[in-house]
């Protein structure tokens, strides 16, 4: 088999290591594998492996017609040339039948889908998966160098054939039976028989009858005897077994190496993919955070605007003395900004103001209704005033007003009025006149009485008498309290 550079493939674009590139650079013209091994100086095993890779990558191509320069000394005998050609064709067919074609190279690689992001450009397609390198089914024996002294171009035998024959003859003692037949170890008896027949054609002197063979006649006879002996030996399973096992082991080693290489590639690929995915996840998280930030910003802004709007409304309402509306606005603002103490304070103060105003309003309307004689209609207003602004005065009036209808509530209100009075006295803010206080106590006392607490009612009545001696109302109350 001869090799040549493939002009369509640019070597620079191939994933080659320096050694492989070196071997590629040794290919000039159409050398044979043996010649390349010779010039590479790397030894047959390494070189062959590299050549296999280069062939796989398409950097090298097999040359169909061997362009061996015919030795000028050989007579251009047409029949002889035809016979030689036939021999070679047979060998080629044999090779073609045995070496599996490198598959996979033609398979188009689809870009991985599903993980495509706008940001990340799709990763470069991985190099086509190489098939497990086939071990050649024929054995290559390196010919002796072209300058060997025993070569004789004047013989009727191509110089290259002479070189191969000499190489085999030199190694007669060490060649395995399979090597004599040019066959890789196999248990296939049919293949062994076919190989022996081909070896016969190569070595049997009759195949070259009429040509001058010189000392090569003897060489061929010897090699034929060896090939015959090898053929005989290979009929025995115990001869084949270790050699076949060795080849199987070699095949297995190659398979494993291939497997390891594949696994390493897969692992590297997986690692790269993981990295890409981690990066993508990070980017996604960052984008989500940004979005959340913007959202928060937007919400804050809106809230602030709302608060400002409420505050504005509150201020306006305050300005118009509408404390209820202001308090409402403050409450709404406080709902948005519950932590704002200023708003809370303002809400509380305006709410207090609003209540006082409402209580004052209800109290004054109640007073006017009482003045007009509609005491019963004034009662709810008095209660409202007591609720809105629980001053002693409001509470006492309310307690007095409800005592007939609802003695329980009247007692509650009376007690609240007493508490409020105590607080007001303690604070000392309100300076009540004694008559007012006496009235208040009378009212409280009446409420207690209505509630059945005559003791408390008497106490209030006593206190009222003390503030305003000889008050009839107080006396009346005392009397009522005593009666009960």
């Amino acid at each position: 088999m001869r090799l040549a550079l493939n002009p369509q493939v640019r070597a620079e674009t191939l994933p080659l290591d320096p050694q492989e590139y070196f071997v590629l650079s040794r290919v000039e013209g159409q050398p044979s594998v043996g010649e390349i091994i010779g010039v590479s100086g790397l030894g047959p095993a390494v070189t062959e492996q590299i050549l296999e890779k280069l062939l796989e990558l398409g950097a090298l191509a097999r040359v169909e017609a061997p362009a061996r320069p015919s030795t000028p000394t050989r007579p251009p005998h047409e029949r002889r040339a035809r016979a030689d050609e036939r021999r070679r064709t047979r060998l080629r067919q044999q090779l073609a039948a045995q070496v599996r074609p490198p598959a996979g190279a033609a398979k188009p690689q689809r870009a991985p889908t599903g993980t495509a992001h706008a940001v990340a450009s799709p990763p470069p397609p991985p190099p086509p998966e190489p098939e497990p390198e086939p071990l050649p089914d024929t054995v290559f024996i390196e010919p002796v160098p072209g300058d060997d002294a025993r070569l004789d171009p004047s013989l009727g035998l191509a110089v290259y054939d002479q070189r191969v024959l000499l190489a085999m003859d030199d190694r007669r003692q060490t060649l395995s039976p399979y090597e004599f037949l040019g066959l890789a170890p196999t248990d296939d008896l049919k293949a062994i028989r076919a190989a022996f027949r081909d070896a016969s054609r190569r070595f049997h002197p009759d195949a070259y009858h009429g040509r001058s063979l010189g000392s090569f006649g003897g060489v061929m006879s010897r090699l034929f005897v060896d090939a015959k002996a090898a053929y005989g030996a290979l009929q025995r399973a115990d001869v084949r077994a270790p050699l076949v096992a060795e080849r199987e082991a070699e095949l297995e080693r190659r398979r494993q190496r291939q497997q390891q290489r594949r696994e390493a590639a897969a692992a590297a690929e997986a690692l790269a993919r993981n990295e890409r995915e981690a990066e993508a996840a990070q980017r996604r998280a960052a984008r989500a955070a940004q979005r959340a930030e913007r959202e928060r910003e937007r919400i804050n802004t809106a809230r602030r605007a709302k608060v400002a709007e409420y505050l504005q409304g509150a201020a306006a309402a305050e300005g118009m003395e509408n404390f209820a509306a202001a308090a409402n606005n403050y409450r709404l603002a406080l709902q948005i900004e519950p932590e704002d103490q200023d708003i809370r304070a303002r809400w509380e103060s305006t709410r207090a103001k609003a209540r006082r105003i409402r209580a004052k309003d209800a109290y004054s309307r109640a007073c006017s209704l009482i003045d007009l004689g509609h005491a019963s209609e004034a009662t709810p207003l008095l209660v409202e005033a007591a609720q809105a602004d629980p001053t002693t005065e409001h509470l006492a009036h309310a307690a007095d007003a409800v005592r007939d209808q609802d003695p329980v509530q009247a007692r509650e209100l009376a007690m609240a009025a007493l508490r409020a009075m105590g607080e007001e006295d303690k604070e000392g803010k309100v300076k009540r006149r004694p008559t007012v206080e006496a009235d208040l106590r009378l009212m409280i006392g009446r409420a207690f009485l209505a509630a059945g607490q005559s003791q408390s009612a008497r106490q209030q009545a006593v206190l009222a008498q003390r503030l305003r001696p000889s008050d009839p109302k107080a006396r009346a109350l005392l009397k009522s309290a005593k009666v009960t």
């Binding site: 029949r79 002889r80 035809r82 016979a83 036939r86 028989r193 076919a194 027949r197 081909d198 016969s200 054609r201 049997h204 002197p205 009759d206 195949a207 009858h209 009429g210 006879s221 010897r222 034929f224 005897v225 015959k228």
Partner: protein, 609 residues
């Protein structure tokens, strides 16, 4: 392309073939027959007769007619084969000067290769006539079981006949070549070859154009002749019972009975009954005449020869067993040789191998065709056939005690090589004689001696100390060479063993020359014969026109002159024929042609034709 023929030199018939444009073709002889009887006779006028002519005159000239010479070729005088022939043949067998067998015909003694050469020469002529060119090289077949002496004798016969025998191949192998040639077969076949004088069985592995002989065996003294002898004996015995006459001493009668037996045997291959009808077979001194009229049935023939057929089957069985081949591995059985037409043989072979024998080959021609294929394969590289033949006999040397030590076993593919280290057997032995032997017997003397040579100059040492390595090699063309090497001194001596055909080189040389002379004579006489016929035809034509021309031309002096010249030419022609001088006749033929042309011109001009 050079003409290289293949010749099947058979015991009873010989056949020649050539590959023409890649097609092997049998060349028919002058009589149009594809085979020529292997018979040679010397007529009363000392003329050499070959083939059909020899066969036709055999009855009347039995003592001087050689047939089945193949049975004697390469044999020694003491061999049982020679004795058997002596007993049964009408011709006289004598001992040659080198212990070989010779035949006395009329006043001369001929070696066996010489008589075979007559046949080969005839075949050469047949081929040359057919091809219109010279034929100088040939492949000749021999029975597979022939030993080297027999092969060498056959080669010598070729050489005497003026043929360079480029290869001797085995007949069954040749048959297999013809069977498998041009087909892409992948088969294991058995070739059962029962010819006129020998039986061979060969097993071949055919594939990718390589014909590998795995095993071969045979019996060189078992063939159609033996079947004929059985029939003959039965006929003679029956004749004696009926007539009380013993014809055993009457060679002429024996010859007639032999011919009739052969004829009857052949007839019985197709018919169930045959009649041996020999009128006037024997006349007593008292002029009493006896005729033989014996009906012979196929059953009788089979009864007479059954044991012979069984012998062939036994050999087949042994061969298969020795080669460790199972009958079921065989894909085909090829029947070769005229004898295989016998129904008993066909059925026994079919029964034994469990295969219906192949009918695709012509049993009489297939061997010659195969020989021509091998010839073509050797000289023409376009014929893509390779034959891997085996050596049919073991080869070895004689060792102390007169035992035979085998170096190359029988059925070893050639070329081959084997060596063995021997030690001296006497103290201070300085030379060792190496006897090269061939055969299967453990006693050296029972095997065929091929040659001997002496390795001298050995170191003086106690016995057993000096080691001699003897290497045998057989080349692809069957040449045996033996090298002996003193391992101590490295001294080496080798010979190419030339098997002896019974003829010395000098004798051979002389025979080759005389044969060339003979050929020249034959050619000359043939040439003269051709000229004579032409001259006679021309003379007749001229004489026919003579009266007319005379009438037209005698009026002028020029005419008279021309007529007298023509008369002179006729005269010279007749003289030339009488004197048998081919050269002068050739000139006269030209003059005759001119005269005839002139005469015709004259006659046609005057319109009197």
């Amino acid at each position: 392309m050079e003409n290289v023929v293949g010749i099947d030199l058979g015991t009873t018939n010989t056949c020649v073939a050539i590959v023409e444009d890649g097609v092997p073709t049998v060349i028919p002889n002058k009589g149009g027959y594809k085979t020529t009887p292997s018979m040679v006779a010397i007529s009363e006028s000392s003329k050499r007769l070959v083939g059909h002519i020899a066969k036709r005159q055999a009855v009347t000239n039995a003592q001087n007619t050689v047939y089945a010479a193949k049975r004697l070729i390469g044999r020694r005088w003491e061999s049982p084969a020679a004795h058997a022939v002596q007993q049964s043949c009408p011709y006289t067998v004598v001992e040659g000067p080198h212990g070989d067998v010779r035949i006395r015909l009329r006043d001369s003694v001929y070696s066996i290769p010489e008589t075979s050469a007559f046949i080969l020469q005839e075949m050469k002529l047949v081929a040359e006539q057919y091809l219109g060119g010279t034929v100088e090289r040939a492949v000749i077949t021999v029975p597979a079981y022939f030993n080297d002496n027999q092969r060498q004798a056959t080669k010598d016969a070729g050489r005497i006949a003026g043929l360079d025998v480029i290869r001797i191949i085995n007949e069954p192998t040749a048959a297999a070549l013809a069977y498998g040639f041009g087909k892409d077969l992948e088969r294991k076949v058995a070739v059962y070859d029962l010819g006129g004088g020998t039986f061979d069985i060969s097993i071949l592995d055919i594939g990718r154009g390589v014909f590998e002989v795995i095993s071969t065996a045979g019996d060189t003294f078992l063939g159609g002749e033996d079947f004929d002898v059985r029939v003959m004996d039965a006929l003679i015995q029956s004749f004696q019972e009926k007539t009380g006459v013993d014809v055993a001493d009457d060679r002429m009668a024996l010859q007639r009975i032999k011919d009739a037996a052969e004829k009857a045997r052949c007839e019985l291959s197709v018919a169930r009954e045959a009649l041996v009808d020999l009128p006037f077979l024997y006349t007593t001194p008292s002029s009493q005449t006896f005729h033989m009229q014996e009906p012979l049935s196929r059953d009788t023939l089979e009864e007479l020869t059954r044991d012979l057929v069984e012998r062939t089957i036994n050999i087949c069985d042994k061969t298969l067993r020795d080669a460790k081949i199972d009958k079921s591995d065989l894909d085909d059985v090829i029947l070769v040789g005229g004898m295989t037409r016998m129904p008993l043989i066909q059925s026994r072979v079919a029964e034994f191998f469990g295969l219906e024998p192949c009918k695709g080959v012509h049993p009489d021609e297939v061997v010659a065709l195969g020989a021509s294929i091998q010839a073509a394969a050797l000289v023409d590289e376009a014929i893509d056939v390779l034959l891997l033949d085996v050596t049919p006999h073991s080869l070895g040397i004689m060792i102390v005690g007169g035992y035979f030590h085998r170096l190359i076993e029988q059925n070893t593919t050639v070329p081959t090589e084997a060596s063995h280290i021997f030690t001296t057997v006497r103290d201070n032995q300085t030379s060792v004689k190496i006897l090269v032997l061939q055969g299967e017997n453990d006693k050296a003397t029972d095997n065929e001696l091929l040659g001997e040579f002496i390795l001298s100059g050995l170191r003086k040492a106690p016995k057993g100390e000096v080691e001699v390595e003897v290497t045998f090699s057989i080349s692809a063309d069957g040449l045996v060479s033996v090298a002996a090497k003193d391992l101590e001194t490295g001294r080496e001596q080798s010979i190419t063993v030339t098997a002896t055909s019974g003829l010395t080189e000098d004798e051979l040389q002389k025979l080759v020359e005389s044969s060339q002379h003979y050929m020249v004579e034959v050619r000359a006489s043939e040439e003269f014969e051709r000229q004579r016929q032409q001259a006679e035809r021309l003379i007749a034509d001229v004489r026919d026109l003579f009266p007319q021309v005379q009438g037209i031309m005698s009026g002028t002096s020029f005419g008279r002159d021309a007529i007298s010249k023509a008369e002179g030419v006729l005269d010279r022609a007749e003289k030339g024929i009488k004197s048998q001088d081919a050269r002068s006749l050739e000139e006269v033929v030209e003059s005759l042609e001119r005269t005839l042309n002139m005469f015709r011109g004259v006659v046609s001009k005057t319109g009197l034709v």
